[in-house]
């Protein structure tokens, strides 16, 4: 049985449940947006993975449905984000701020999924908590557990910032990039991680949070963005 797929499915269901719980009170049509974002993200991510692997989706359209063949997480995430942003374009800060902690928690679950596929370990380490990989006595950093815990901590911090427009979204994006970037040197890799994307996430996230912080300070007391949206 492929427990990886089960873990991925449970993480997905848990992520949607949590996001829905956070988003529903804040924005309209939260469930529609989440389902639409997930579907669009999967399709575009799968297409990007196929193109990246040198497979033309037009000549092999049936392959698009075989998600097990690979999904580009970068394109899937960006597409899902774009769909949520488009649907909630009139409540964008509120939607993104409420989405941020759930997205970080989902990423934590995704990293934790390494436990089901024997892929948690990175570079060699002698630290007391280092773990051995199957069939060897070599001890290594449980790098994906580090990343998962980092994402979970970031989710907890960001969940306390959701009432400051743009700040939670910015801090969440920067934190996700920082956690990935910090753990990257401890990972085993042949092709290398997309560190450019991580740096971009950090820079955009910090800039967004700073702008949000400035807006929060300059905004006069009044109704929140949720209340300003017409029914």
């Amino acid at each position: 049985m492929e427990l990886t797929l089960l873990a991925a499915a449970l993480t997905g269901v848990g992520g949607i449940w949590m996001t829905n719980k956070l988003l529903s009170p804040a924005v309209d049509r939260a469930t529609d947006a989440l389902i639409g974002a997930a579907a669009a993200g999967l399709i575009v991510g799968r297409l990007a993975a196929m193109v990246g692997a040198g497979v033309n989706p037009l000549t092999r359209p049936g392959d698009i449905l075989i998600l097990r063949g690979g999904v580009s997480t970068e394109f899937a995430a960006l597409t899902a984000l774009a769909v949520v942003g488009w649907i909630h374009r009139r409540q964008l800060p509120t939607a993104l701020d409420h989405l941020a902690p759930a997205a970080l928690a989902g990423l934590a679950g995704w990293h934790g999924g390494c436990l089901w596929r024997d892929a948690c370990l990175g570079t060699v380490s002698d630290l007391p908590w280092a773990m051995t990989s199957t069939g060897t006595t070599i001890t290594r950093h449980p790098v994906e557990i580090y990343a998962g815990l980092g994402m979970l901590l970031a989710a907890l911090v960001v969940s306390r910032l959701i009432h400051r427009p743009w700040v939670a979204a910015g801090v969440g994006l920067a934190a996700a990039g920082a956690v990935r970037l910090a753990t990257e040197p401890l990972r085993q890799s042949i092709v290398g991680g997309p560190t450019g994307w991580y740096w971009a996430g950090i820079l955009v996230g910090v800039a967004t949070a700073l702008v949000g912080q400035r807006l929060t300070r300059t905004r006069p007391p009044g109704p929140s963005s949720i209340e300003m949206v017409p029914p």
Binding site: A33, V44, A53, G54, G69
Partner: protein
């Protein structure tokens, strides 16, 4: 919402259509058959660690991991042997697969799947990490990702 999803999918399809497949780097002329006995003998005689990958042209996840195996061979080919086994596949399809993905490492054909049965492998693809002399370190069932392949190779080299 539906229009948004459909629009995105169409855009991605059009972009994908503008991209060609990988250029063929070698021909599949050297795709010789291999039996279980030959497979075991080759691994036992090997003085280098070996990564064995069972694949088939009809296996869609095999297509997603093929470029990774090519990259791994380019990075570690001097220290680690790579052996692809085209499993339960038509010869012409296997040759086309090798040409499409430019598989630069040695590939052999096991048309009846005897090696897969010998390894008690589940599903396809399967990647086996083998010590010099033929002892199996680890068997990875299903599509392998960058981290798992790099970890397996690093374990082989570290213990070698």
């Amino acid at each position: 919402m539906n229009r948004t999803s459909i629009g995105l999918a169409i855009l991605a399809l059009v972009a994908a259509a503008c991209t060609g497949g990988s250029a063929a780097q070698i021909t599949g002329d050297a795709l010789e058959p291999i039996t279980v006995e030959e497979f075991v003998a080759e691994l036992e005689a090997s003085t280098q660690p070996t990564v064995v990958n069972l694949w088939a042209s009809w296996c869609i996840p095999c297509r997603s991991e093929a470029p990774l195996l090519v990259a791994a061979h380019a990075a570690f080919g001097d220290d680690v042997s790579f052996l692809g086994i085209a499993t339960e596949d038509a010869l012409s399809d296997s040759v086309a697969f090798i040409e499409e993905f430019g598989l630069t490492f040695e590939n052999r054909a096991d048309r009846v799947g005897a090696i897969r049965a010998h390894l008690s492998a589940i599903g396809m693809p399967v990647t086996v990490f083998v010590h010099p002399g033929g002892e199996i370190l680890r068997t990875h069932h299903g599509v392998i990702d960058d981290a798992a392949l790099a970890l397996g190779i690093d374990d082989l080299l570290a213990e070698g």
